[in-house]
Amino acid sequence: MTTHTEVFDESRLVELREQLPIRPWRSKPRRFTWSVIIASLAPAVFVGLLYVFADIPGALLLVAVYLPVQIFASGLAAYVTRGTRGIADSVIIVNAIGATVFTGIILASLLGSLIIRGWAALSAHFIFQNNVYINPSTPLEYGGIGHAILGTFLIVLISAVIAVPIGIATAVYITEVRGRAVPYVRFFVQAMSGVPSVVAGLFILTTLVVTGALSQSALAGGLAYAILMLPTVARTAEEVLKLVPEELRTGALALGSTRSRTVFRVVLPAAKTGIITAIILGIARVIGETAPLLLAAGNADQTVVNPTGSPISSIPTYIFNNVALPYPDAVTRAWGAALVLIVLVAVLFTLARVIGARKPGR
C-alpha cells in the first residue's frame, strides 16, 4: 500500500482516508427499502388475519406460520432486489431481528411483571418494618422487608470489607509488583470466578458452620459472598490499573518514591474512579445471590444487627421463602422484594456506568 501512495496527490490521499470508515454494506438503494417494508408488512397482515379468522393457537401461529412466511417473503424481496445472493442475507437478517425481539420480549416481560406485581406490595412500612408476627396470610397492611434490607446491607458490607482489599491487592500484584506468578494468579482468579454460588455456600458451611466455629450468621454469609466478589473486584481493578499511564509510575520512582508509596500515593489515587467502579460491580455481582445465604446465613423474621451469633434474613432469601407459598399476599411480598432488589441492582449498575465513564488518571 504505502509504496503506491506517491502516485496520488496529497488531497486525494486525504479523501481516501476519510472514506475508510464508510461501511459499504450499510448503503442501501431505495428499491431495497421499499421491498423491505412490503416484505415485513405482508406476512404480518397475513398472520394477523389468520389469527383473527382461523382458530389456530397464537404460539403455533408465530413459530410455525409467521416465521416461515416472513423468511419466505424477505427472501423473495431480496431475490427481486439483489438476486440469489440476497436470499441468505435476508434469512439471517430476519432471524437476527427475530432473536432480538425474542430477547426484548423476555426482558420486557421480566421487568414489566416486576413493576406491575411488585408495586402492589410497596409502601413505606414495607421498606422499614420487619417480618415478626407476620404469617404468610397476613394482609399487606402489615410487615415488610426492613430486616431483609438491613441483612443484605450487613452481609454485603462484611463481604466488601473482606474481598475489596484482597481483590485490589491481587490486581496490584498483577499490574504493579509483576512477580513471576502473574500468569498463574490470573488463571486462578479466572477459575475462581467460575465457582458456583452454591459451592461457595457449601464451603463456608462445611469449614465454619458445621465445625462450630461460626453459626449461621451475617459473617458466615459475608464470607461466602466474599468468595464470589473477589474475582470480580480483582479482574475489574486489574483492567483499571492497566489504564494508569506508565509515566506516572516511573515518574514517582524517579523522584525517589518507594514502590509501596508509588502504589498508595500515585497509582491507586490515579485510578480512584475505576477502583470505585470495581467495588460497585463486585457488590452488584453478589447482591442477588441466594444459594450461599440459604446455606450460610439462614433465615430470621426479626431485625438482626449482630453480625455473628444468630441467623439473619436478606432480600434474596426473603424472596426465596415467599415465592411458592399458596398465599397471594406472601407472593405479592416476594414480588415487592424482587422489585426492591432489582432497583438496587439497577442503581448499582448505573452508578458503575456513570463513574466508569469518567476518564482515569484525572
Partner: protein, 322 residues
C-alpha cells in the same frame, strides 16, 4: 505497560531495595494467592466429604440414582442429578446459543450504532438480574406460557421420542428449566460474542465487500471464523454458569430420583445444584449433609473444568487477535 521488560526489571530492583517495600511486596503477593488458597480449600474440604460418601455407597454414589436416606442401609446415588444438570444445560445451550449469536450479529452488523448501544445496556442489565428473580418470574409468568408450547410440541412433534409425554403433566420439565437457563446464558454469551465479532478488522470486512460478498458470505467466511475461538469460549462460559445455577432452576424443575434420559417435556428431572438446596432445608442428619457436600464437590469439579477450558480458549483467541 508501554515497556514491560524494562519496567519489570527496574520495578523488581526498586521493590527489594527498601525494607517497607519488601513487606509491601510480601503482603501483596500473599493476597494475590488468596484465589489459589480458596480454590484449594474448596477442593480439599469438599473433597474429603467424598471419602465417607464413597465408603457407605461405593462407586454407585456416582453411577446410580436414588435418595433413600432413612432405609437401612441408606442408599444414595447422584447419577440422575449429574446427568440432569448436563441435560438442562444442554437444552439451555440449544435454545440460547442461536439466539445469542443472532443477537450479537444484529448488534454488530445490522443495527444502527445508537440502537446497538441502547440494546447493549439492556442486555448488560439482563445479565445482572439475580437468579432468584428469574426463578420468581419463571414460576408465575413463564410457566403457564411454557405449558402451551409444550402441549403444542407434544401434539405436533410427539412422534419424535424426545417430545413424548405419556403422563399429560407438563409441569417441572427439563424443557422449562433449560429455557430458564437459556435466558440466563443469552446475555453472558452475547456479551462475549458481541465483543469478538466487533473486533473483526474493518479491512477484512471491506475487502470481502469489495470482492462482492453478501453479508452472509462475509459472516460465514470472515467474521465467524475470525471470532470462532472467542465464540466457543463465550458459549462455554455460559455453560459453566448454567451448570452451577441453583435457585432459578429450583422453582421450575421437579427433582425426581429417577434418571430422565431424554423426555424433555415430561415432568421431572435432575440438577446437582438444585438437589443441594432442596435437600438442605430438611436435611436429616450428618450423614445426609455429608452426601450433599460430596455432591457439591462433583459440581465444583465439573464447573471448574468447563470454566478453565472456556477461559483458556477466550484468553488464547484474545491474544491471537491482538
Amino acid at each position: 505497560m508501554a515497556n514491560p521488560d524494562l519496567g519489570q526489571r527496574d520495578l523488581q530492583a526498586a521493590a527489594t531495595s527498601h525494607r517497607g517495600d519488601r513487606i509491601f511486596n510480601r503482603v501483596v503477593t500473599g493476597a494475590a494467592f488468596t484465589a489459589l488458597l480458596v480454590l484449594a480449600g474448596i477442593a480439599v474440604f469438599l473433597g474429603i466429604q467424598v471419602i465417607p460418601a464413597f465408603q457407605s455407597q461405593g462407586l454407585s454414589f456416582l453411577t446410580s440414582t436414588g435418595w433413600d436416606i432413612n432405609t437401612d442401609p441408606p442408599t444414595a446415588g447422584i447419577f440422575g442429578m449429574l446427568y440432569g444438570s448436563l441435560l438442562i444445560a444442554g437444552i439451555g445451550l440449544v435454545i440460547g446459543t442461536p439466539v445469542a449469536l443472532l443477537l450479537s450479529i444484529f448488534l454488530v452488523f445490522i443495527a444502527p450504532p445508537r440502537v446497538s448501544r441502547i440494546l447493549t445496556n439492556f442486555i448488560d442489565l439482563m445479565a445482572a438480574i439475580p437468579s432468584v428473580i428469574l426463578g420468581l418470574w419463571a414460576f408465575y409468568i413463564l410457566n403457564s406460557q411454557a405449558q402451551v408450547w409444550q402441549e403444542l410440541l407434544n401434539q405436533y412433534l410427539g412422534w419424535i421420542p424426545i417430545f413424548q409425554n405419556d403422563s399429560g403433566n407438563f409441569q417441572g420439565t427439563p424443557f422449562i428449566a433449560g429455557f430458564v437457563l437459556a435466558i440466563m446464558m443469552i446475555p453472558i454469551v452475547t456479551s462475549v460474542t458481541r465483543e469478538v465479532l466487533g473486533r473483526t478488522p474493518p479491512e477484512l470486512i471491506n475487502a470481502s465487500e469489495a470482492l462482492g460478498c453478501s453479508m452472509w458470505t462475509m459472516l460465514r467466511y470472515v467474521a465467524l471464523p475470525y471470532g470462532r475461538g472467542g465464540i466457543v469460549g463465550g458459549i462455554m462460559l455460559g455453560l459453566g454458569r448454567a451448570l452451577g445455577e441453583t435457585v432459578a432452576v429450583f422453582f421450575v424443575l421437579k427433582i425426581v430420583f429417577d434418571t430422565n434420559w431424554y423426555h424433555v417435556i415430561e415432568s421431572g428431572g435432575g440438577s446437582v445444584a438444585t438437589l443441594i438446596v432442596s435437600r438442605f432445608g430438611e436435611v436429616s442428619g450428618a450423614f445426609e449433609l455429608n452426601l450433599l457436600l460430596a455432591a457439591g464437590f462433583f459440581l465444583f469439579l465439573g464447573t471448574l473444568i468447563v470454566n478453565v477450558i472456556a477461559n483458556l480458549i477466550v484468553t488464547r483467541t484474545g491474544r491471537l487477535q491482538k
